[in-house]
């Protein structure tokens, strides 16, 4: 090799030359492969997203010319639209519900499930099952089960357990909570599997050490399990907070916001404005407001994290 440096020299120059040509060609090929899906995105999400920012500042029925009215929609939204205010309050309840109830159910289920071996796979699949059903099917099932004359309440009434045959979805005091309950039925099991997967990556040694120190099961949960899956919990709390503003299916299928607006969420209010009343500009303003709220949650989360909060 050392005897003939010139040959080595040319060959290396040749590869680098070839390499450069290859690199350019591969770069072109790469973008040729990336562009199609990017175009689809631009047309469906980015373009309409940007034009949504403009339409939010207009009075527009969706047909013809949009009339620019500045912040008029937002003024109306925050000062006059009582339905929006109620819907927003309902969304806060919705968020509080989903930040607590499914979280507690999923954490308890996952930590109990992580300790057992026999039957764990079967239990896992059962927890998972409701999540794979279409929302329309779970919503229909619960509209049946919550029916006052033919549901679970009526059946319990027959065997002497009184008081549960309540029109859960028809009463304005219980409608929203009942819908949240039905939505949670399909959600908590999935969440518990997410937590279980995270728990399984905690080293067993930590539990052994805790047991040696005489920690009981609650102490093990608090001091080993919770810190071990904290990133997953925090991520899911953040995502839940964002998703809670987008929730639509269960409300629309079960009550469409009724009775008399008692279960109206921001999303169902937006849907009515846009597709039943044809207030496209106003609906775009609601959409922008919702997005900004979701953005604020992400922003707040990031700022707290930057400030050194351990989240």
């Amino acid at each position: 090799m050392t005897a003939n440096p010139s040959i080595q020299d040319t060959s290396s120059r040749r590869t680098s030359f070839l390499g450069k040509g290859m690199e350019v060609r591969r770069g072109l090929l790469a973008w040729a492969l990336i562009i199609p899906i990017t175009l689809v995105h631009l047309v469906v999400v980015v373009g309409p997203g940007i034009s949504g920012l403009y339409y939010a500042l207009t009075d527009w029925s969706g047909i013809g010319k949009a009339e620019f009215i500045g912040l008029g929609n937002f003024v109306e939204l925050f000062t006059e639209d009582l339905n929006f205010r109620a819907a927003f309050r309902h969304n806060l309840f919705w968020m509080a519900f989903f930040l607590t109830v499914p979280m507690i159910m999923a954490l308890s289920a996952a930590s109990l499930l992580a300790q057992i071996r026999r039957g764990a796979m079967v239990i896992r699949s059962m927890f998972y099952l409701p999540y794979v059903l279409p929302s329309i099917v779970s919503a229909f099932t619960w509209s049946m089960l919550l029916n006052p004359s033919l549901g679970i309440g009526a059946a319990l009434d027959k065997i002497g357990i009184k008081g549960l045959d309540h029109p859960w979805l028809g009463d304005f005091r219980t409608a929203l909570a009942s819908i949240a309950f039905a939505d949670n039925w399909h959600w908590w099991g999935f969440l518990s599997i997410l937590f279980l997967t995270a728990m399984q990556s905690i080293p067993v040694d930590l539990y052994d050490a805790a047991k040696m120190d005489g920690a009981n099961r609650w102490q093990q949960f608090r001091n080993v399990t919770l810190p071990g899956i904290r990133p997953t919990i925090l991520f899911m709390l953040l995502m839940t907070a964002i998703w809670s503003f987008l929730s639509f299916d269960y409300v629309w299928i079960l009550t469409q916001g009724g009775p008399s607006g008692a279960s109206e969420l921001v999303s169902s209010h937006l849907y009515k404005q846009a597709f039943l009343r044809f207030e496209a500009g106003y609906a775009a303003a609601i959409g922008l407001t919702v997005s900004l709220m979701a953005g604020c949650i992400v922003g707040g989360f990031t700022i707290l994290r930057r400030r050194g909060w351990e989240i």
Partner: protein, 278 residues
């Protein structure tokens, strides 16, 4: 020794009791749905949640007929196949390029994708509706499939890219040394490696599209082109007093899902736990 001294066997009975109750909570509603789909309306009136005393199988053909399931199930299959094909092909191409060809700006592109997938649907729902109307894509199968492809592909690209990154590119390099073109490398070498990842993506996307409600509600308003979900919504409201019929319809809708779920449980659980984070 130490174990014998300190590690007294933990009592797991409370675990099984609580887990059993939670299982009942998860599964019993589905069982009741199945029971009710086999009762006559008369029986439903007095036995609304129990096991059927008499099986009325005719609820199924009746629901199939009256709910127009032949049409809507075909529609749903078209939406699922169209979306899965689009996501797997277009998303797979992009994922391969990002994982292997390392073009300039690929990191920036991933960040763009990530932020894109967090844009709330309601921000662009209205303008997208207007755009689709102007492009005459409203109430067309193609228009709905395009939307589904756009919304499902960020997750597919993330999953497939991270799937590919785990494999060293040695096989592809070997093929190139043997004179294979980039296209041949892609089809002959990369595809077989990517196969399990593609299957997971296909499964998650198919499940999502099969049960999708809100986008179909907005973008597909003609009865004969509706998917199962939104047409079932109308069916359920039309026959709101006839639960045996509507329950049978619901069971027909979830049967394919349940069969696939039983068969491919592992992949389902893996794929959805990753997909749930999209």
């Amino acid at each position: 020794m130490i174990h014998r001294l300190f590690g007294q066997r933990e009592n797991l009975a409370p675990n099984y009791i609580i887990l059993g109750l939670l299982c009942a909570f998860a599964v019993i509603p589905i069982l009741i749905l199945g029971f009710n789909s086999l009762k006559s309306n008369l029986e439903l009136g007095e036995n609304s949640i129990g096991f059927p005393r008499q099986f009325q199988w005719s609820n199924y053909p009746d629901a199939w007929e009256q709910g127009g399931f032949a049409v809507t199930m075909t529609n749903s299959v078209i939406f699922v196949v169209g979306t899965v094909t689009g996501v797997v092909v277009l998303g797979g191409m992009a994922a391969y390029a990002l994982a292997r060809l390392n073009p300039r700006g690929s990191n920036l592109y991933m960040i763009y994708m990530l932020s894109l997938s967090t844009i709330p649907f309601w921000l662009y729902a209205v303008p997208l509706f207007i755009l689709w109307k102007n492009l005459s894509l409203l109430n067309t199968r193609f228009g709905l499939i395009i939307i589904y492809i756009a919304l499902n592909s960020p997750f597919a690209i993330f999953l497939l890219r991270s799937f590919l990154v785990k494999f060293p590119p040695d096989f592809e390099d070997a093929a190139r040394v043997d004179g294979a073109t980039e296209m041949q490398v892609l089809t002959k070498v990369v595809m077989p490696i990517m196969w399990p990842g593609l299957l997971t993506v296909a499964l998650v996307v198919a499940l999502g599209v099969w049960g999708e409600f809100q986008i179909a509600l907005i973008f597909m308003q003609e009865d004969e082109k509706m998917p199962l979900t939104t047409s079932y919504f109308n069916f359920m409201r039309r026959f709101s007093r006839d639960w045996s019929l509507t329950a049978a319809g619901a069971i027909m809708m979830i049967l394919p899902v349940l069969i696939i779920f039983m068969g491919l449980q592992r992949r389902f659980v893996e794929g959805l736990t990753q997909g749930g984070l999209k």
